[in-house]
Subunit: 385 residues, 2 copies
């Protein structure tokens, strides 16, 4: 049936709440004036609890991938031994950045759909002489798997105490609990278009004292993404280059909404994830990730054998539902539903309803109502917790 | 007197027209969906005439400085001899980027407020064995000087035919005529928050065939700002990393307004520049740049000896006028008025009115009405042309 705005269920950019849209349409201000300086400082301060850090959060004007590059080039030198723990397309990308800039990268590749084992990561770290850094993916957007960063970071610290722990937290930070300082992470990256309910265009990089110390020695070349330059400017509420003013207006408003919701942010993401998984399973879809490692922000399901995905997805679009396909080696084999940022449980019920209707139209063996009933049951269970 | 929205006369970000603000507040869409692919292709095609190129225009999610870095790292290798022609803070920045990435940079420094002489640039280029590239600033935002890129590029081509001509066109491109292909420029950079009347967050890099050939051989490391990756994605209307969706919505609308205005865009910028210069001069301010090299997008004036600039600028702010200060070695010595993007002749009359009123309040020797009368005369003269 007709919808007047799509149900945007891709894992970012996410739909913007009305007040965030308003913020994006505001008039420009002087990015070196007092009003914008106050905003910059407010956003940095407000982000720290979501990272679980008391250290700096640097605001960069770039996509999340730029944040990953900043993580690498500001802390490492060419030739540095690096362990890249990968479990999907974005872990591969992080590793690739380090390789491009000349790090000596050893990959610990985990099967896509699974999460790395802390013991295996510790053993891999211990086996690399002079290990300088370990690259971790917190939430692998391409597979819908969340790794146990707390346990992984602990394993790295035990095996290679001097190695930095650099974390791609782009697609879950803010939506799930994170404790950068307590877990011993040295640098964590996120992006405006994920949990922060804003348009894409800014990355946020939390930098701990060990990463700053590494930046003093790091010899990979950097200019635009130089974190120390940004720290220097941010001390007075500025950025070294012109920042994405409108995106920061939005992030400021998105964080205000998140602060007002409080712990409800995490509960909402947990409920939406549980509803998505229950609904898809009840419709007969096999999920890529086991429950134990399932992401709370994105769910990947296998495309059933014999299903014409292009036609099926066209039907979803006509029903107003926009989902994401697979990436890398899973392209054409899975589809993904994003449930992060402004997502509501109503959005998920509507998404499952559309998939269910389309599944019936496609002739899949589905009992009418099974998907939404299962999603609803998951909602009720989540609310009872 | 009270204004309900400041007269934002900094040289970017510039004030947004109403329809551009609306575009910035739009709901997100799938950045890999058909609607956004069509928008990406539309923006690229529409930008080409403003660059004066038939070649590629690459869309990057970053500030203009990221565009300068892309220019360097995609075309050069460490050790490459480079001539940086500098005439202000942004020329210095372009040179610094090349140095950071290991180019062997020779600087031809022109006094701030003046423009480089083609003969001097040609001689400097001829004197460097194996010269790989010349870095030019088209419009030096820190001084309000526009260089004669056509003549400079011709001088470089004559002196060192193999050297690439890489142009920082950030703060004037779109506002003034530019002929990249005809003038023999190989790569030209601009930014969304300048003539394009949009929020900051995107840089646009036009790349000619010689620059693409150089990219095949260039060994400076790059990932986030890799132009070839972007070209590959843009072929299907995509970007390799998540683009600044809302900024591109705005640029699309800004270009639509520019297309509707046609040649009026250039005439409007010329009139606003002439009015600004005439008005400031009539108020007794000395301008940094001679008329022959004066920018059409930003005007710099010396702060008169003995004037308490902080108090004066505070008065301007109370009158709703926001101007920019000096940068680098001109910090505290000049102030700058931006007149680009959505600027109207009314904005300039209002700016001169505010400066005139504040000058009278500050006890400067000003005849009431002299500033606005001179600006008005410049407007009438411009309209008569």
């Amino acid at each position: 049936m007709t919808r007047f705005e799509p149900n945007l269920r891709i894992p970012g950019p996410t739909a913007l709440p009305p007040s965030v849209r308003e913020a994006g349409g505001r008039q420009m201000v002087n990015h070196r004036g007092e009003e914008f300086k106050a905003l910059t400082k407010r956003v940095e301060a407000a982000m720290k609890p979501f990272f679980g850090t008391e250290h700096d959060v640097i605001l960069l004007t770039c996509a999340g991938t730029g944040g990953l590059e900043a993580a690498v080039v500001n802390t490492l030198s060419p030739g540095d031994p690096v362990l890249a723990v990968t479990m999907g397309a974005f872990g591969d990308r992080f590793a690739k950045v380090a390789e491009v800039y000349g790090a000596a990268v050893t990959r610990l590749e985990v099967e896509w759909g699974r999460a790395p084992e802390p013991a295996a990561v510790g053993a891999a770290a211990a086996a690399i002489a002079g290990l300088r850094a370990v690259l971790l993916t917190h939430n692998e957007t391409s597979t819908g798997v969340t790794s146990d960063v707390e346990a992984l970071a602990a394993a790295v610290r035990a095996a290679a105490p001097e190695a930095l722990v650099l974390v791609d937290g782009i697609s879950a930070l803010g939506a799930v609990p994170f404790e950068m300082d307590r877990w011993g992470c040295d640098l964590v990256v996120t992006g405006s278009q994920k949990a922060w309910m804003s348009a894409p265009g800014m990355a946020f990089v939390a930098v701990g004292p060990r990463a700053w110390a590494a930046a003093d020695a790091a010899r990979m070349p950097r200019f635009y993404l130089d974190l120390k330059r940004h720290r220097e400017s941010q001390a007075s509420g500025e950025s070294p280059w012109t920042p994405a003013v409108a995106v920061l207006f939005q992030v400021d408003e998105g964080i205000r909404l998140m602060q007002a919701e409080g712990a409800g942010v995490h509960a909402r993401h947990a409920a939406c994830a549980a509803m998505t998984r229950a609904g898809l399973r009840a419709l007969g879809f096999q999920l890529l990730a086991d429950d134990a490692v399932a992401s709370r922000t994105v769910t990947a399901a296998w495309i059933p054998d014999g299903l014409d995905w292009k036609a099926f997805n066209g039907g979803l679009k006509r029903r107003g539902l926009v989902v994401a396909g697979g990436q890398g080696k899973l392209k054409g084999r899975i589809f993904r539903l994003g449930h992060l940022g402004s997502v509501t449980t109503d959005d998920i019920i509507a998404a499952i309803s559309a998939i269910e209707a389309q599944a019936l139209e496609a002739g899949l063996a589905v009992r009418p109502g099974a998907g939404v009933a299962a999603a609803q049951a998951a909602l009720v269970a989540a609310e009872a917790r």
